[in-house]
């Protein structure tokens, strides 16, 4: 779940006449990442698209035009994509829809031109006064008078388009989706090397899938297509596929925004799917704001259907839950101290409530947030240690990563135990020597970065404080100044509460998100993550819009 799946490079070789069957089979399997043939070797040339390709493209063009005019979004298609008969019937059906739609569209356009002309003539009386030949005058007046009729006609036509939309949108979406797939299949030969009678397909697949593919190809092509696994040294451009459990998939977006992990390293997706919302919750930490965010996300989820929005909203969903948990810990509800202000209690079962009061325990929290930083950075170095251990061996792993952990703890030790400064200085010197041996003398500058990394985690407190500060200021103005002023004050107070907290919530949502992601990218990822990998995109899985 943490490391990329093992990949094998394969060659599939076969007779050109069976190419279509092979591609169809591979397309359905969705397991091969094709390496595009770059047309450079002698004796081979790029394959040609199959004959149906141009016909399909024509259909798709008219289908997309229809979708555009009828305002059909892909999401509206519900029926399963199945084989569509490409008979004369399909063609006739498509043409008849097209004619109907185009005819109505044209009429609407004409009416709109007329209407906009009429707009210019503001008043019939102006026309009467104007010096025009009686004929023209009559026509013009007729035209202006027909304005209402024209508008009615336009609305009727639009209504009819709506009906067509309802009737055919399933057919149109399904056919478009299906044809796009067919086009992709028919264009796949462009990515292969071919000779006069044979083709060679080069690609990557998971090592576990090779056997399955072998069997399928044998069944489909009757033993004609051969699949050969190639052993290769120095795996440079291996596509990366990391199996992330479904609930944590959205966090892949956050990692990919930084860089795709490469084939030789541990993917941080699982880790940040825990730490990102945790940091978010620590910063925003307010039961009321968490609830509002949860509701906002639930609302936007129905509205924003693109893949990018959906994963962002899923991430925020996790974040809102952590925000509520920390809201309970801090005892904050829209900036009010809820246990005392609302229920008049200061302890539950002998435990002082709230567990942590952010404004009164600033110094302990400052230390705690730096401590969280030390732990987080250490985790980063441990992952880095495993990465280096796997690729370069123990010696490098110790020199490059353990040395840094040592430096970090010696520095922190000096702050916490000033009495032990001399032994710790000795330890620091030892680890610095190790580190210089591992990474070179230039890396000495990085020691200061390490210190600033740790201080940087104090933002966990700082961002929260500014948010609580604003919320409390709003509440204080309302409760102490406005409400005692009578009815008008109460009305103003409610307005102030709604407006102020909306603004503060918006700021809080954005700031917590940005600072939490920054802690991952700048403080955490730099300790182990190199990235620069290629995403595993098997044939048959279409690129989704983000």
């Amino acid at each position: 779940m943490l490391s990329p799946k093992k990949m094998s490079k394969v060659l599939i070789v076969g007779n050109k006449e069976r190419l279509e069957d092979t591609i169809n089979a591979l397309y359905d399997l969705k397991i091969i990442h094709i390496i595009d043939y770059n047309d450079k070797e002698e004796g081979f040339e790029r394959g040609k698209p199959s004959k149906m390709s141009s016909i399909f493209s024509e259909y798709v063009l008219s289908l997309r035009a229809l979708k555009d005019i009828l305002h059909i979004t892909s999401k509206e298609s519900k029926s399963e994509i199945k084989d569509i008969e490409f008979s004369i019937e399909f063609k006739k059906r498509l043409e008849s829809i097209e004619n109907k739609v185009m005819e109505k569209r044209k009429k609407i356009d004409d009416i709109e031109v007329l209407l906009s002309d009429i707009e210019h003539i503001s008043d019939v009386n102006d026309l009467v006064k104007m010096d025009l030949s009686p004929n023209v005058k009559e026509i013009m007046i007729d035209l202006v008078k027909s304005k209402d009729r024209l508008m009615q006609e336009r609305n009727d036509l639009t209504e009819e388009l709506h009906k067509i939309n309802k009737e055919y949108r399933d057919f149109i979406s399904t056919a478009e989706e299906f044809l796009s797939r067919e086009i992709e299949k028919s264009e796949t030969p462009l990515r292969l090397a071919t000779t006069e009678h044979t083709y060679i397909l080069e690609g990557w697949m998971q090592t576990d899938d090779v056997e399955k593919t072998k069997k399928t190809l044998e069944r489909v092509t009757g033993g004609d297509a051969q699949i050969i696994e190639i052993e290769e040294e120095g795996l440079e451009d291996v596509p990366v596929y990391v199996e992330t459990p479904e609930p944590f998939k959205p966090f892949e977006t956050l990692v990919d925004m930084f860089s795709t992990p490469n084939y030789h390293e541990i993917s941080p997706t699982l880790l940040i799917s825990f730490t990102f919302p945790l940091f978010y919750g620590i910063m925003l930490g307010d039961l009321g704001y968490g609830l509002s965010l949860l509701l906002l996300v639930a609302y936007l989820r129905r509205r924003m259907k693109t893949v990018g929005w959906q994963s962002l909203l899923n991430i925020l969903n996790y974040a809102s839950i952590y925000t509520m948990i920390f809201g309970i810990v801090y005892g904050e509800f829209f900036g009010f101290e809820m246990y005392h202000d609302f229920f008049g209690i200061s302890e539950i079962g002998g435990i002082h409530m709230p567990l942590v009061h952010r404004l009164e325990e600033i110094v302990p929290l400052l230390v705690a947030s730096a401590a969280i930083g030390v732990v987080h950075i250490t985790i980063g170095y441990i992952i880095g240690f495993i990465n280096v251990l796997r690729n370069k061996g123990l010696k490098h792993a110790i020199l490059e990563k353990v040395s840094w952990i040592g430096i970090l703890y010696c520095l922190m030790g000096m702050v916490v135990f000033p009495d032990m400064i001399y032994p710790l200085l000795g330890g620091l010197a030892f680890f610095i020597v190790l580190m210089v041996m591992g990474e070179g003398a230039l890396a000495l500058i990085e020691i200061f970065t390490l210190i600033s990394n740790v201080i940087s985690y104090t933002r966990l407190l700082a961002i929260g404080l500014s948010s609580v500060g604003i919320a409390m200021a709003i509440n204080k103005i309302v409760t102490d100044v406005l409400i005692p002023k009578g009815i008008l004050g109460i009305i103003l107070g409610v307005l102030m509460l709604v407006f102020g907290h909306t603004l503060n919530l918006a700021l809080g949502i954005i700031a917590s998100f940005l600072h939490s992601i920054r802690l991952q990218y700048v403080e955490f990822f730099t300790k182990f993550f190199k990235g620069g990998g290629i995403k595993f995109t098997p044939l048959g899985i279409r690129h989704k819009e983000v």
Binding site: V363, S456, R459, A462, H515, R518, V546
Partner: protein, 78 residues
Amino acid sequence: MADINVGLIALAAALAVGLTGIATAIAEKHIGSAAVGAIAEKEELFGKALILTVIPETIVIFGLAVGLILLFVVIPGL
């Protein structure tokens, strides 16, 4: 109690936050204008640009940390 030192330390805390705030603003101004230029050419960069823009916010957070330490650790210790 009303020692002049307390006042000076409070002033120092204010300077720490205020000046680092100005520094952050200057840094973000440059990044921000470059980011808007980049987004104008390539809209997908919005997410990355937003994150890059808040990177210098660390400076003011350092200032705030120093300010908090001055107010809540140094002054009570006098």
